[in-house]
Every structure is written in C-alpha cells, then in structure tokens.
Symmetry: C2
Subunit: 214 residues, 2 copies
Amino acid sequence: MPKLRVNNFTITLDGYAAGVHQTREHPFGTIESPVLHEWMFATRFGHEMMGEEGGGEGIDNLLALAGDHGVGATIMGRNMYGQILGEWEDGWTGWWGPNPPFHHPVFVLTHQPHEPIPMEGGTTFHFVSDGIEAALEQASAAAGGQDVRIGGGASTVQQYLRARLVDELHIAIAPIFAGAGERLFDHLDGGPVGYEVVEQVSIGTVTHVRIVKT
Amino acid sequence: MPKLRVNNFTITLDGYAAGVHQTREHPFGTIESPVLHEWMFATRFGHEMMGEEGGGEGIDNLLALAGDHGVGATIMGRNMYGQILGEWEDGWTGWWGPNPPFHHPVFVLTHQPHEPIPMEGGTTFHFVSDGIEAALEQASAAAGGQDVRIGGGASTVQQYLRARLVDELHIAIAPIFAGAGERLFDHLDGGPVGYEVVEQVSIGTVTHVRIVKT
C-alpha cells in the first residue's frame, strides 16, 4: 500500500521550519537554509545533489537517501514552489533550476490555476486548485504505485496532518534557534492527533525523529 | 563563578513545557506530568525522590543527578509554586508536601508579598516581588557560592533568557505531543539570542539538549 510521507523535513530546536521575511533570495527567511540543512548538505546524498564528490556515508546519508527512495510524486504548497504573492509571474519555474531534483511529477497546491510546466530530468510541475484531497488523488495516480511525498512547507504538512492523511514523518531537528517564523507543529487542533514518535536518534548535531500514524 | 542554570527541564516534541487548563490537580494541564517526566521517574534519582528502590543508572540518571548537584538555591515562578490566581490561599505550601525535594532556599517570583515559609528538610520558600534581578541577587546570596537553578515554569525561564542571565540549560525533549499550552522557546524576541546548542543526545525515548551562553 503506497504511503503519504514527509521526509528529511528539518526544523530548528525551537520548532521552526522557516523564519520570517521569506523572499525569492531567502526562501527560508531569517533562517539560513545552509545552516538549517547543513546535516544533509554534508552527506554523500547532499554532495551528489550539488554535483559534488564525497560527503558523509553514515546514518544521515541513509536517511537522506531513504527520503527519496520509492517516491513517485511530490506535493508541495504554493509557498514552497515560489514566494509569489498575487498573480503568477511569467517564467518562474521554482527555485531548483532547469533540472529540479524531483525527477517525477510535482503537484503544487494553489488557488490560481496554471498549465503544467514540464522541466528537464522528468520533473513536471502540475498546479492543483481544488484542495488537498484532489492533489493527493492526482499525485497517487501519477506515482504509479510508489509513495507520495509532501515536500512542504509547514502549512501544507499541517493540512495533511489535520486530515490524518500522512502515514509517516521523518523530521530532523537542527541545533539552532530561529526565534520566529513558521512552526511545523502548529495549527494542529491539539495534535497531531493519532501520531506516535517511534524513534529519536541524535547523530552529531542533528536529531532524527520518526513519527507514524497509529 | 557560580552559574544560573536550568536543568532537567522537559518539553514535548512540539515544544510545550505545560499544557492548557492547568489546575491544582493537574499542574501541567493537558500534559500528563508522569508521561512528560517518565524518563526521570524511571531513573534511580527519580525512584529515590519517590522513596522507592531501584531505577535506571544510565545517562538519564547522571543528568538527573547533575541537575541537583551543586545547586544552593532555586528560583521559580508563582505559577510553578501553585496555581493560585488572585489572593494567596491560607495553608498552601506548594505541591511537594511537608518536605519538598529542594532542601535549600527557594525564591518564588510573585507580585503579592508573603512571609517566608520554612518547610522540613531545609527548604524555605521566600517570596520576591521586586523583579527577576532582585530574586537572582537574593538567591545567589543564599546559595553560598553554589549555583542557582531556575525551576520553572516556561515564563520564568524566558524572563531570565531575555535578560541573558541564564548561563546554561539542559532540556529534555520527550517524544510526545501536547498540541497547545506554554512553549519553552517562545516570547524570546527572536531568541534565545547568544545561546548555542553544544550537545544533543537521544537516550531511549528522550533527547537531552545542552545549551550554553556564548
């Protein structure tokens, strides 16, 4: 049975997935993304993503790899696709350059319909404006029997958690503080209800936490 | 140089030190204290505190012990001393029975002055109504060269963090969710500013984090 997963979702020790003042230049706002995601950039997986050699091959790397493995489609929020408020801007195709690291269909939740945008390397951005269930249906169909991953951001994960549609989450807690911004575990109506922490592992400076639906 | 410390301060994975609806019967409100503090109750330190034999002797126990070691005075907020809104109630002497586990002077921050309350076993509750610096001065003097510990709750820790008076914190992250309540790392004006996470260790199901002033 294919799952709906969240993987390698990194938050600060005080719980923030992104800071305030998010812009095109600073997608994570007042949180420095290289610092937040340092654990992943340091892995072999991270190095390969940046087209570099080397990188750590320990548990951080295994978890980073596992987050990509068996995923046939990604869902993300409009804000993760681009800090675009108001009308679509011509030519914007996300943060990831001509060959985004997804290599499968990506479904962007948005209130503003848009034609699909095919990219190099197998990624196509689809735009879904009829809700999270519709996006999940389309993503599941496109995933061809593989899992669907929620890329982010926090608000999108929260919407799926509130609907109890997420099967498992792997989050990484980075040893830094943000002080303000968007928290992952917020706006969950007293929850996440019906989820259990099944593993906590501190590796070097990051703590990996695995959470499953009970 | 004596330090101002926070030790064994346990929060949920979503960051809460206490839930909502705190009452005399449920000091942590919607968070069940035995669940939140299970890691500590399971140690030899915790067993001794409850007058029982046995208990774990691993790193959880060492950290629990270290949190008490070298402490000459404790500061706590009015809310940690008792869920008393409005006037003092006659006869209330805290949650801890006739022989509280402090065994040294305890300074309670409150806007309502009150005579000191001597208890069995070396604990005396003093009531300080002229601010956090005054409480720290009095506690430092009473500690006789030993460290001063902030017992809690979250709001009291925040006040001292904002003033950059805390030298180090040891927090434990329990693998449970609260969904609502009082977060430790909140109301810190974008901080804690000038603090660094120096260690994260997951032991069984709790993650210990050590944070120091830089």
